[in-house]
Subunit: 409 residues, 2 copies
């Protein structure tokens, strides 16, 4: 991890209770020449259900391909996370490394290799060294149990702080816990800052239900953040449910507690997603963008993402400039239904333009004061229909250029 | 114009001959508090054909809406370009300003208002002051003829150098000339660096043929450049043909000289497009991206633009880093057909990865030497089919952040 903590980082790592049926371990595989744990092993009791979402990249890593196949079976006994080497774009040797890891753990647990999930993050184009992975796995198997913060640190690469979130819900009369850790600092730099997120719960959940709940949470959270619009070859979010809480297994949307579970899962995912934005490369402002009045929710999200990914909007916020002209530009370029003369724009809840014109008697002072803060709200109302979306991003600063132009592969 | 010339600027403004049937004038409308000509008037003889392409923004300026309507008629007598005020997002008052300009010139020339084309660039959200426009027009009407470089300077805003290009072709036994000027420094900052391009020829060309030729040239040139992926509310390229060269009017694709005319028009458009990239905000490298082996030309162009717009690729080039992992990432995120294990990537013609793997015995030295230059070539072969495209962009540097984060609207 980097020495300089993001100015948007929370005060500290949250208190997070253990999850029954899960044990965490960390070890030093030395994927890079560094003195830190860089291999994380999560051991899961038999009967654990799993769901996942992976990158839409057409050039995914072998880990992503492996997870996609294994997810079809819906069950898991272990998760291995390698930090420092993404193992992406490494051909047959990369695939062989993933298979070797799964086989090693399957041998240890006497389970199927497909019960073992693998994710890697770091440098691209260098096959993951199998000997180091195997030595690291053996060390992890022999290691004492690790805490959440240790695991969150072991999966990190260029992150400037460790990231975790937790929530509880009442399901079938039992209190269940959902806890997650995540790493990521760009969205995403494939050679150094892939987003990997892992969520664990003690709830008993049918894999298909878990997948539907994760898809839904993902659509409102991880899919609604952007740092630089660059999508990784390795982005992966996995959710594991050990079933130790003792509730009757959640399987249908009208099961008791189904809504509470879904809401708690979405809360954890949202918090994890926000933490990634708060560690966005070079970020100095956390930006929330609300689009309302669009023709549909999908259209609203595309417009919100067009604003969130616009270098000109992001640099304006970095410069503390309420430059609504650039917001208009970003709405216009989204290619979605919009009518200039119905458009309204606000900063920090203060309307600056209404129906395609700057508001009469526009007073910049309160808007300028909002822009000086570190939490920026941009509102856009299209005045067309009921479609709405919220996305989160950060500003674009010299820090981003420094991190990415000065890095050598 | 800015005092510091782009390091990618050409040595000087080219020698460009006059076009028969066209007279240029410049004047000081004082749209901003500056001491320079900021209103350009091009007077065109009767019988001039016109064609144009405008922004795809869903929130275009009233000038763009005006030009689109006037283009349907295919004829032109004048062009007015205002610099310093984009007149975008200004409601009825913005529309009134455009109408007043067209009416003033129509009265002077005794032509239809629809024969007068108008384009504006500069600050957004402030209606163009009609009184200044009218005083400026009167001054321009009374002014002596201006040269190409004077006109290129008068349409500029944040550009760091004046931009022009010229070519000739033999059509129907006559030498015809095609000459253009352009302004733009981002692609595009709506409040300060909209792209406006104007091409003039003495060839006799039917408006429909001219439009088809311009559409075709645009698809290979202006539509294949990007500085920051931000599309302006005001982007406009207009082509005017005065017909004074005396050739039989070009109307069909098999007319004698039709191919020569189209090729010369595309040459001028390509050169103008390159000049805009060379003046890209903060640019220190001119980057050419060739994509081959794609499923179709459209697919190749989307992949090339995904690479050209990736902040991680652009910062890598700024850092002189042959970071092919980021190129893989950008290919993957384009959403177009791609197979990781068929992908080849080159820098400066030197293959660095082949069939999804770094080439054996990869020697970074010649690649690093290429990256130190100011003209960078990236090649991507998808190994799928015959689709190909070439696009041009610049790198992303601290200069871009400085220009855009430190600017106040």
């Amino acid at each position: 991890m980097h020495a300089v903590r993001s100015p948007l980082a929370p005060a500290g790592f949250p208190e997070m209770p253990p999850i029954a049926g899960l044990e965490l371990r960390v070890a030093r595989a030395r994927y890079k020449d560094w003195d830190r744990a860089d291999l994380t092993l999560a051991l899961l009791d038999e009967g654990t259900a799993v769901a996942g979402v992976t990158t839409r990249s057409r050039c995914p890593s072998p880990e992503v391909e492996w997870c996609r196949k294994a997810l079809v079976l819906g069950k898991a006994r272990a998760l291995v996370v390698n930090a420092g080497n993404a193992n992406a774009f490494t051909g047959n040797r990369g695939r062989a490394a993933v298979e070797a890891i799964a086989a090693r753990i399957a041998g240890h647990l006497a389970c199927q290799p497909s019960d073992v999930f693998v994710a890697s993050t770091g440098v691209i184009g260098v096959p993951l060294p199998i000997d180091r992975a195997e030595a690291g796995l053996d060390a992890a198997i022999a290691a004492p149990a690790a805490g959440w913060e240790e695991a969150a640190a072991a999966i990190a690469t260029t992150d400037t702080f460790t990231k975790g979130a937790t929530a509880t819900a009442i399901v079938d009369g039992r209190t269940i816990t959902i806890t997650g850790i995540i790493k990521g600092s760009g969205m995403i730099a494939p050679d150094m800052a892939t987003m990997l997120g892992f969520v664990f719960t003690d709830a008993a959940v049918d894999p298909a239900f878990l997948q539907a709940a994760l898809d839904d949470a993902n659509a409102q959270t991880f899919s609604c953040i952007t740092v630089d619009g660059d999508t990784s070859t390795s982005d992966t979010v996995l959710a594991f449910a050990t079933g130790k809480a003792g509730n009757r297994t959640l399987a249908e949307t009208d099961d008791p507690g189904a809504d509470a579970f879904r809401a708690a899962l979405a809360d954890v995912c949202r918090e994890l997603a926000h933490l990634v934005v708060r560690d966005g490369e070079g970020a100095s402002k956390f930006i929330r963008i609300d689009v309302t009045g669009a023709e549909s929710d999908t259209s609203a999200r595309r417009i919100a993402m067009s604003i969130a990914n616009s270098p000109l909007v992001k640099t304006a916020i970095a410069g503390e400039d309420a430059n609504w002209g650039r917001v208009v530009m970003a709405v216009g370029k989204a290619g979605e239904p919009a009518e200039r003369d119905r458009l309204s724009i606000s900063f920090g809840g203060i309307e600056v333009a209404r129906e395609g014109l700057v508001v009469e008697g526009y007073d910049e002072a309160p808007v300028a004061a909002h822009l000086k803060g570190s939490e920026i709200d941009i509102g856009v109302d299209l005045g067309l229909d009921e479609g709405r979306a919220t996305v989160w991003t950060c500003d674009l600063t010299h820090g981003y250029i420094e991190i990415n132009a000065d890095y050598r592969s």
